[in-house]
Symmetry: C2
Subunit: 205 residues, 2 copies
DNA sequence: TTGACAAGATACCGATTGGTAGGTATTTAT
DNA sequence: ATAAATACCTACCAATCGGTATCTTGTCAA
């Protein structure tokens, strides 16, 4: 079938995607500094020459993971639902509920990829810091806008400062995931996020 | 003066303390995995032979930093004041206020030593995880006991579950420090902890 | 069909890593 | 005074690190 179409031996876009996926996994498991390029290559059966054709340095590969893997992941799970919602408060509640229920074993073990890189890399590499901060700023903004709309609809107390509460919400989320990661306890993870849900309720009017 | 007292050429206890201090700083700045024994030795002018006389492996050194440096630090700043206080809620409020005011540049850049090690090491090394968890459990317990006493004195709402709120408080603190670390913004750090203070107020009856 | 460039492969490099071998020097106990 | 144990030092090691040089191969436009 399709005899005319020359079979593609090479597929640079797919190679790039494979590298990003393997690098993402390796970084999640070992951290960026301890992430081994050789291990990444072993996972992908891509050669080192190919890697360095697509990415100039290890740092470039890491930044690409942040921009092309982590950022879209977060956007899909948080930004899209929140921006589409008309009444954002129940939406926030449900996003938290999902986060509680969908407690992957992988999440419990390795934590949040975004927070991991923040804690490891922000003091060491300004490019990483800025790339991660861009994601955080978007996250804050999306939640803050949701809270503002909630205030306009009379669902959120006027006293709350959307920017500040959004910042705190993200901090609390990352904190809960981080503690659950060390406790290695689904129960800890869920009760911690459960307390955050109760906090959310104090924002409603 | 003191001609009889032989001058000490060697001081193994001090050597150990020097090593722990240097290792603590190096780990805070680079993380544990990327912490270089050679750099630690350079900071202390201690030889590698001496290091390996006091600590069998790099891991042992790291665990000693957790137990002998980080744990006492936290105990001094949180456990002692909380345990001594009769009315623990104002005490918690003030501890947070201190944490807001005493925002060191070093804290803002490198974050919380405890949380750093949690995020980096808990998935990689079970011994680290347990050592860190011991500290967390103590922290939780001290705060929970404070909250319970607060309930007994009628200062804290009966609905709060001390254990769970204590867990959440710590998560939120670490989250705030972690976000401030990436934002590199004193303002972010302080407003985030400020929101946590407001949360604390919702616990009072 | 061919020339030019992108994509990938292999072999290697210096630097750094945690750790060790084998020695010396100090301290302490007897 | 002396033996034994503790404390420390220097030189070295294999393994791994990120990165590079050099080459071949596949792709596509002209």
């Amino acid at each position: 079938m399709s005899a005319h179409v020359a079979r593609k031996i090479r597929n640079p876009e797919q190679t790039r995607i494979d590298l990003l996926a393997a690098a993402y996994a390796e970084i999640l498991e070992s951290g960026f500094q301890a992430a081994s390029l050789d291990r990444i290559l072993a996972k992908t059966s891509v050669s080192k020459g190919a890697l360095y054709h697509h990415f100039g340095t290890k740092q470039e590969l890491g930044l690409a993971v942040v921009e092309d893997v982590i950022a879209p992941q977060l956007a899909e799970r948080w930004f899209v639902p929140l921006q589409q919602s008309i009444d954002p408060i129940p939406c926030l509640q449900q996003l938290l509920a999902e986060k509680i229920d969908a407690a992957d074993e992988r999440l419990l073990r390795y934590g949040c990829p975004l927070n991991n890189l923040i804690q490891e890399m922000s003091p060491l590499d300004e490019n990483f810091r800025q790339g991660l901060q861009r994601i955080l700023d978007q996250w804050i903004q999306v939640i803050a806008e949701a809270l503002t709309r909630g205030q306009e609809h009379g669902n959120v107390r006027k006293e709350v400062v959307p920017d500040e509460v959004a910042l705190f919400l993200i901090a609390a989320i990352e904190g809960c995931v981080g503690l659950g990661k060390n406790a290695q306890s689904l129960r800890s993870y869920q009760t911690c996020l459960g307390q955050l849900q109760q906090y959310l309720r104090t924002l409603t009017s």
